[in-house]
């Protein structure tokens, strides 16, 4: 392995040996404190306005949002959205306790399965961890109850997100993740709108390899 030779070459270029203990301790401190840098003012708003900014940014990036009063209203919102898109009412859902607690049986025509997504799944329903108002971005950390494939394989991804989890800037979402989850999850996706590509003649087309549609059911209560 070339580890030593690479480190030696770097130090030769930097004209020093390994960092002295005090400087190394300072850098360890910087890693532990992870100081924030300049954060754009645009998301520094009262919470209701942050929620509005989040919604505006999601829509700007070709996502869509339905706002509902409480978790009980989610099955209706999902069923209506799927019907409006001419999609079947069958989907694969994240095995998350908050989603499991939703009264899906209120809409008997919905066929709800739990687990990770397979290539054959047309629609997935994911649990949102946080929304970032700054750019209308969802934060979806992986966990047994929040599989990554739900964000990727289905043609249509529906994310159930509590409005109370919306923050202003990315930095606030990282702190929320550190506080509620602790160690860095295996995978953290920051998702801003549905999949797209501009590789053909530099012209935007939606629906490249990931979901063609990203719909957020925003739960106020």
């Amino acid at each position: 392995m070339s580890k030593q030779s690479i480190l030696t070459a770097l130090r030769r270029g930097l004209k020093r040996g390994p960092l002295p203990a005090d400087q190394a301790a300072m850098l360890h401190g910087r890693l532990a404190q992870h100081p924030r840098h300049l954060i754009p003012a645009r998301s520094r708003l009262p919470h209701p306005e942050q929620v509005d900014l989040f919604v505006r940014n999601v829509e700007k990036e070709f996502g869509s949002v339905t706002r509902v009063e409480d978790m009980d209203a989610v099955p209706g919102a999902v069923a209506d959205y799927l019907a409006a898109q001419n999609l079947p009412g069958s989907f694969i859902m994240a095995p998350h306790p908050e989603l499991q607690a939703i009264p899906w049986s209120a809409r008997p025509l919905l066929d709800v399965r739990e687990g990770r997504a397979q290539a054959s799944d047309a629609v997935s329903v994911q649990h949102g961890f946080a929304g970032i108002a700054e750019t209308g971005t969802l934060m979806l950390p992986s966990a047994p109850e929040r599989p990554v494939t739900l964000n990727l394989l289905a043609d249509t991804e529906v994310v159930v997100l509590r409005a109370s989890t919306i923050v202003g800037a990315y930095e606030e979402a990282w702190d929320k993740l550190r506080a509620e989850v602790g160690a860095m999850p295996r995978n953290v996706m920051l998702i801003t709108g549905p999949s797209r590509s501009a590789d053909i003649e530099q012209t935007l087309e939606l629906g490249a390899h990931g979901p063609r549609r990203l719909h957020i059911v925003l739960v106020e209560g």
Binding site: L31, R42, A119, T149, R196, I200, E205
Partner: protein, 477 residues
């Protein structure tokens, strides 16, 4: 291996100017990149300050890179991943191959990776019976056409709809020959369907990394298509290719860099998928790779440390410099002859493959300074190109005629009064000769200029002479 055609830049550029398809693509796409970045920047009042922040973060990371790389490695190990330190392209290719062989891999899906191009990993895998499949739409057609990308974030920048149709008809022979390609959407859907089965069948997924995070041991990829995520999520093994300068300290540092990356690149506020991968599948996880390997590649970076080119290691590969470059805009990416085109390539390529091969590139600049003015990490690209020109001159790689002319110019430039006399005589003479038409259609020794356009005739005197005259007349102080 990619044989660099950088030594033939002049011939490449001539061919590019005569390539109608390329010129059509450049005329269409160049202005839109510029407009999109401008609008993203206009929507973020703090953008200029954020560029300073981005520069400072990268400078801090580079000044302590040995420390941060070791901290990063420790975190990767802690989260169940492995780090393979590789001094050069050959070591990196071997490391990737042995992981693929150990996994019994037959096919490998790939996310877009410029370091992957740099080490020519696809050729190496193919040579050993493993099929690499590029999954980024632009990279996919580049692979079908056996080309290099012509742009670092838009690999198929040089292609038009007719090229897509031709390549797809040739490659996808199992599909009906009478199918229509009426719009871009038809191309996209065909690629999506074709690649879906590849994603599912692959044994190993290889991605690049926009950043590595020492705090958490994470690798970050930034994509719009979702292909990189399918590549790193579905196969049993995930391999990350990353050069050593990608390492930054914390999530906050990476976040600040991400704020300027997409805006500078595609003009988006944020890319669709910005994904942080940390180690292998955790207990209870229903998906994700069982093995996570990082190939940490030096390949010439450490040799730039401590030199005047260290600043180039700040580069976050956004492509703003080439999007705004008049030379790139005229000849496209392939003329540069290797993996990295445009201003960033003109600085990086001589460092990686040698100034004797790539000496033309830092000369292929008008020094208009646009590249530096849009660089999100404020790399002084014109200054760095000038350093390469100096090195080229010092090593006597500059052609004899250029050296002779520079020497002649230098003789006069060091003698101001003689210089003024000579330029005044030349301006007067040319003014007399060209008075009638006001321009020259041809000029001995200047055909490079006059072949393409007329040379305006001087009006009879130099600026200095006219200024002195005006001073004497009391018109200026």
């Amino acid at each position: 291996m990619h044989i660099a055609t950088s030594p033939a830049f002049k011939e490449n550029a001539h061919a590019a100017l005569a390539n109608a398809g390329l010129q059509k693509a450049l005329a269409r796409s160049g202005p839109s990149f510029i407009a999109r970045r401008a609008s993203a920047v206009a929507n973020l009042p703090e953008f200029e300050q954020l560029r300073d922040t981005a520069r400072d973060i990268k400078n801090h990371a580079l000044a302590n890179l040995d420390f941060y790389l070791e901290a990063y490695e420790a975190k990767v190990l802690e989260t169940g991943g492995k780090v393979h330190w590789c001094a050069d392209a050959e070591e990196a290719r071997e490391a990737v191959l042995s992981i693929c062989q150990a996994a019994g891999a037959r096919t490998v899906t790939k996310g877009k990776s410029m370091i992957g191009e740099e080490i020519a990993i696809n050729d190496h895998l193919e040579k050993h019976g493993i099929t690499p499949v590029e999954t980024d739409l632009g990279e996919y057609i580049i692979q079908l056409r056996h080309e290099l990308p012509s742009h670092i974030i838009a690999p198929a920048f040089h292609l038009n709809m007719e090229d897509w149709e031709e390549a797809f008809r040739k490659a996808h022979t199992d599909l009906p020959v009478d199918r229509q390609f009426n719009e871009r959407r038809d191309v996209l859907i065909e690629a999506r369907n074709k690649l879906r089965s590849k994603f599912l069948a692959a044994d190993v997924g290889i991605t690049g990394a926009n950043f590595l995070v020492a705090e958490t041991g994470s690798s970050i990829i930034v994509t719009n298509e979702g292909n990189g995520d399918l590549t790193q999520t579905l196969p049993r093994v995930h391999i990350v290719l990353a050069s050593i300068e990608k390492c930054v300290p914390t999530l906050e540092d990476a976040t600040s860099l991400l704020r300027v990356l997409a805006r500078s690149a595609t003009g988006q506020d944020f890319s669709v998928y910005t994904t942080f991968s940390t180690g292998a599948r955790r207990p209870g996880d229903l998906d994700g790779p069982e093995e996570y390997h990082v190939i940490l590649i030096d390949n010439g970076r450490s040799a730039m440390m401590g030199t005047e080119f260290q600043e180039m290691l700040r580069c976050i590969r956004c492509a703003a410099c080439m999007n705004h470059c008049p030379v790139y805009g005229a000849v496209g990416g392939h003329a540069y002859g290797w993996v990295y085109p445009g201003p960033m390539g003109s600085v990086l390529t001589p460092g990686l493959i040698g100034v004797e091969k790539a000496g033309h590139l830092p000369n292929a600049s008008t020094f208009c300074g646009k590249c530096e003015s849009v660089c999100p990490v404020r790399i002084p690209l014109p200054k760095l190109m000038r350093h390469w020109r100096e090195r080229e001159f010092e090593r006597h790689l500059t052609p004899a005629a250029v050296r002779a002319n520079l020497a002649l110019w230098g003789f006069f430039a060091r003698r101001p009064s003689l210089y003024r006399l000579a330029t005044r005589a030349a301006a007067f003479g040319m003014g007399l000769l060209g008075r009638k038409k006001g321009r020259f259609k041809s000029m001995p020794g200047a055909s490079g200029w006059t072949d393409g356009r007329d040379l305006p005739a001087p009006e009879g005197d130099t600026f200095f002479a006219r200024y002195a005259k005006a001073q004497r007349a009391g018109q200026v102080s």
